[in-house]
Amino acid sequence: MNHHYLRRRLVERIMFATTVGATAVTLGVLFFLLGYLAWQGATSLSLDFFIHLPAPVGETGGGMANAIVGSGKLLLIAALIGVPVGFMGGVWLAEYGTGWLAGAVRYAADVLNGVPSIVIGVILYAVLVRPFGHFSTLAGGVALGLMMIPVAVRATEEFLRLVPGSLREAALALGAPKWIVIVRVVIPAGMRGIAAGLILALARVAGETAPLLFTALNNRFWSPGWSQPTASLPVMIFTYAIAPYEDWHRQAWAAGLVLLVLVLGANILARAALSRGGSPAAS
């Protein structure tokens, strides 16, 4: 009996050690990869990276100023599409959304969320690039905007649902019509969470490469206006990483670090705003 018990305890020890090992391997490998990126990126980064155009092929040096601006422009278009559609769609789902239609919209958002990003690129190529005959910043931005919608819808709906129903009832009892209740009471109450959710959605698309490959394409120079191909940080990382030049690899590491800091920074800020002193996982 005692012997049997000892064996069971031994099995327990071994299995627990295994799970701790799995955790250590998972976190260890992932942080080794990111640490390596940080090291390579930091040693490759310089002021030139932020203020210069890419150097001509064969020359060393140069930077990715145009890609940083390009990413900014793409994200601006993405936000102009993703934020209103996601936000108002979420408002409708939370405040009016009952019945089969709401179910259909939720399922559509889920499907849209699951569509591989490269397929979004294919769609935008078919709709906004091919008919016009040229790649454009606009097409790339719209692709990112579409990818942002489902995340924004979900976040908005979820945080509006956290606003207690009694608040709505109280405002209605004061004589406010429903839309005033929503705009002046419910939305302001849920705003912090919604804003965090929208930032997370924007951070998600900021690192997307695949939908830009055949919409915004790439550009070694400045891209004036909205109807020309533009460089962006993720596509530059891809292009430079697979190129055969050592100096381009350094630039890719530097761009990788800048992109990672931007994306993770936005994530940490949004989560900090959500939990505000609570545990970080509470969101």
Partner: protein, 354 residues
């Protein structure tokens, strides 16, 4: 429930805002808006009409945006279907099981890409599932709560790392590693077809391993949440019967959480199947079906990324779009299954906790 505690400060803030609203109304009675109820039927008809109009307008506006989500999703399906019509007409169903991919002679079969996609995803899951489930058990059941919360926070941050960054690190760290480790392995285990052949570093196995590390954070984050949703009474019952903590996890907690964990695996699978950038950077991009795991291969997403802008003829483009259509169909199914599984495990607990 935990979430109510977490949102306690938010509740307090809501109460304060509510007080503000009441005060505003009281201070400026002229701006109090009249309800559209029978007892206020005395309000001027014009104003009542105005309110009803504004209410209707706002509702329609919100509805319009919500419907646009539906429309966009449907349009994606329709565009893929229509744009791939030429390829579907030319090759029919044989597109899915022929393996010639020849842009010069205009013959297209998607089998090598489907094989590559499924094989890399299978390798990724074979590595990621044991690691992820093990780690989630550790984070949910073993470690003290605040430590586990912080580690989970870090894991969730990893979900947000862009795939091109995984590709970058994979290309410059994992590929050389595979090249140096793969040679000896190939010599040692060369009698197994899986490990035969030259080792380039890039290839099926490299892509699978990289995908494993990209999908593991998904599995950990969701599985842990599911494990935490298993009611404490279940554990207490097993422990009271004399089970060790491991036996409790193995025979009570894991079976209870099974469908939720399976759901997280399906979500990881969906990501692995649709993943483009990281895979295309390390897989070698060669549309061949080879027995060796070290051989270069190709995936559906990768071929889109590589050849889409080079598609010179309409049929070529149409064939590529048909691949996108297949990818779209597969991910819809897998996402639906994943959500059903996660919903199945989560809803009964929320009901019992309330």
């Amino acid at each position: 429930m935990e979430s109510t505690e977490a949102h306690a400060p938010m509740r307090e803030e809501l109460r304060l805002r509510f007080a503000d609203v009441v005060r505003q109304r009281a201070e400026r009675p002229t701006r109090v808006v009249a309800p559209l109820t029978a007892q206020h039927a005395g309000a001027p008809a014009a104003r009542r009409f105005h309110y009803r109009l504004a209410d209707g307008a706002f509702h329609s506006l919100a509805l319009g945006f919500a419907l646009s989500v539906l429309v966009i999703t449907v349009v994606i399906g329709v565009v893929l279907w229509r744009q791939s019509a030429a390829a579907r007409a030319a090759f029919g169903w044989s597109f899915l099981w022929t393996s010639t991919w020849d842009p010069v002679f205009m013959h297209f079969g998607a089998l090598p890409f489907m094989y590559g996609t499924l094989a890399t995803a299978a390798i990724a899951l074979a590595i990621a599932v044991p690691l992820g489930v093990g780690a989630s058990i550790c984070l949910a059941e073993l470690l003290p709560r605040h430590v586990a919360d912080w580690l989970t926070f870090l894991v969730e941050l990893l979900v947000a790392v862009p795939s091109v960054i995984y590709g970058l690190v994979g290309l410059f760290v994992l590929v050389p590693l595979m090249r140096s480790v793969g040679g000896p392995v190939s010599e040692l285990l060369g009698f197994v077809p899986f490990f035969r052949g030259p080792v380039y570093g890039i290839g099926l196995l490299t892509a699978g391993v990289l995908l494993a590390f990209m999908t593991v954070p998904f599995i950990v984050a969701i599985s842990r949440e599911v494990l935490l949703a298993v009611p404490q009474t279940q554990r207490d019952g097993a422990l009271a019967l004399g089970a060790t903590r491991w036996e409790t996890i193995r025979h009570v907690v894991l079976p209870y959480a099974r469908s939720g964990i399976l759901g997280s695996v399906f979500l990881a699978l969906a990501r692995a199947l649709g993943e483009t950038m990281a895979v295309t950077m390390v897989i070698g991009n060669r549309p061949e079906i080879a027995a060796s795991l070290f051989a270069p291969a190709h995936t559906m997403a990768a071929v889109l990324a590589n050849e889409f802008t080079e598609a010179t003829s309409d049929l070529y483009l149409s064939a590529l779009i048909e691949i996108a259509l297949v990818l779209f169909g597969i991910t819809i199914v897998i996402n639906a299954v994943a959500r059903l599984l996660i919903a199945a495990v989560k809803s009964p607990h929320e009901a019992s906790a309330a």
